[in-house]
Amino acid sequence: MNLSVEIAGLRLRNPLIAASGTFGYGVELEGVVDLSRLGGFVSKGLFLEPRDGNPTPRLAETPSGLLNAIGLQGIGIHAFVRDVLPRIARHDTVHLVNVCGDTVEEYAEVARVCDGAPGIAGLEVNISCPNVKKGGILFGGDPRMTHDVVAAVRRATRLPVIPKLSPNVADITVFARAAEDAGADALSCINTILGLAIDVETRRPKLAYGTGGLSGPAIRPIAVRMAWQASRAVGIPVIGVGGISSASDALEFLVAGCRAVQIGTANFVDPGVHERVLADLEAWLERHGIDDVNSVVGTIEYPGLPGPGVCETEVCR
């Protein structure tokens, strides 16, 4: 049975990628999970310089979900390349770096540093973090800026460029096309959904930052819808992400048109989740007499749906 998939010229041994922000820099999981069993992983978002992130509390549990405002705490790309990459290189896995910036120039500079570093297979461009004042969502919420930042990263590197799109927009297809036009090799859909949880006793937000990004099973139908819309709007592959914790969750995204998926919040709940999803995915394929996972991609049966590129849902009209 073939479980391997190809995204942006990268061969992944299976379609399950650990999502950025839920897997540290990979090395934290050494000894707990076998990194070589993953399709790949995306390391925590990195700016040029170290970041201390937001004050605490940073997490709030919500029904079937998790609201977070970590604020991209990180060690910076230079320390990462110097101290962490050699440890990641000991593992046989496809490793993508999540690239952040306050400015277009910073994104490009982080990408340039990655370009010359061994052990980085590709770049995910974070234009969708809702928990920082600058960068992040600022770029992902305006199609022109999405185009500019993706184009700048494209010029700065030969590595595959995979923008991670924000769900906090009215029509994700506009952003998907802007990223494709700017030279993206694939898209990750979606990042967290902007949310607010309030402690009614103090009448203050539960998170110190105020608002946060919602993830987990609660957002899965939104993520499937947006990944499906994006995959119909562009020719480049789409990686589905949002609330996956089982094989059937992953299959929803594949059937919707995604060539691979990312598992995020579920890594916190169970760091071994990908092993279970992989085993169940294989069993599902076997049960359906399918010998190649790629043949599931885009097989959605949606009676009455017009052809690709035309979106007929409410949000697109």
Binding site: E28, L29, V32, T56, R58, S64, Q73
Partner: protein, 285 residues
């Protein structure tokens, strides 16, 4: 520092004892934790395989039985996560990742370990009392709570030979008032070389840190922090910590660099600089 790698596996419940007042002793089979855990370390647990509540919860390890490959938690039902765990019946399973985190450090030879516990913060001190005893050292436990029923382990701990000084805010058992009052009395004697170890509510930990500062004592506290993963990946449980040589405090994960921290390195509410950094700066000046 983790002595052994944590293991992520299903742990069956093998024993369950209600202590009244929403307190339970829960014993699980999980070989790696039973064999490898040290006092102050914790496990990330979630009852069964259900989706709700979404996250696992951290629980301090109260005791281990390497021979039986089991460990015991002292749990108070406070929310949906702990309630679900306490509702398990023997034979039911939990998801378990552990042992995790930095344990309490063993006191040097000739230094008495003064343990300060508030409520269910007493959990790590059963194991720690044994560790100190095994290394030939002496320990004494100051065990506080609101009322007598918040000290359900009092008799059992005393029965292990550990000297226990109880305190309750309503005076229903032991000293009337906060647990730090009998501790201060003891320190005023003075008792000889001693190191403080504390686990409990933040206000109690802060009071212990202040005492340690005033008396130039070493003190370690186990911080309770909202943890998402236990492995240092979610960055939810960070606390502001500043070592002696560091120019500014940094967010550090309570799950991997703690939960046990030297009180001098912690930035307590209202502090701009940690005691360790202040001390280092004064030494230079």
């Amino acid at each position: 520092m983790i002595d052994r790698m944590p293991a992520n596996r299903i742990a069956p419940l093998v024993g369950r004892e209600g202590l009244g007042g929403h307190y339970w002793l829960l014993t699980f089979r999980h070989a790696e934790t039973a064999v490898g855990a040290r006092a102050g370390q914790f496990v990330m647990m979630k009852a069964g395989l259900s989706a709700e509540p979404p996250l696992r919860r951290p629980f301090s390890i109260m005791d281990t039985d390497p021979g039986q490959e089991t460990f015991t938690l002292f749990v108070k039902e406070v929310g949906p996560g702990s309630r679900a765990l306490c509702a398990l019946e023997p034979g039911d399973v939990a998801q378990c990742l552990g042992p995790l985190g930095r344990p309490f450090s063993t006191p040097p030879d000739g230094t008495e370990a003064l343990l300060v516990a508030g409520g269910y913060g007493v959990a790590p001190f059963r194991l720690f009392g044994r560790e100190v005893g095994r290394s030939g050292g002496k320990a004494r436990l100051f065990y506080g709570g609101r009322t007598a029923s918040d000290l359900p382990l009092l008799d059992r701990l005393a029965a292990t030979g550990l000297p226990v000084v109880p305190a309750t805010e309503d005076g229903s058992v032991g000293h009337r008032g906060r647990v730090t009052a009998p501790l201060v009395e003891w320190l005023d004697r003075p008792p000889g070389p001693a190191r403080l170890y504390a686990c409990g509510p933040d206000a109690m930990l802060h009071a212990v840190a202040r005492l340690a500062g005033e008396r130039a004592m070493e003190a370690e506290v186990s911080l309770e922090s909202w943890m998402g993963c236990g492995l240092g990946t979610c960055l939810g449980c960070v606390v502001l910590v500043q070592g002696a040589g560091e120019a500014r405090p940094k967010h550090r994960c309570a799950c991997t660099e703690g939960p046990v921290f030297d009180t001098a390195r912690i930035l307590w509410p209202g502090e701009e600089v940690s005691r360790a950094a202040r001390g280092a700066a004064e030494a230079v000046a």
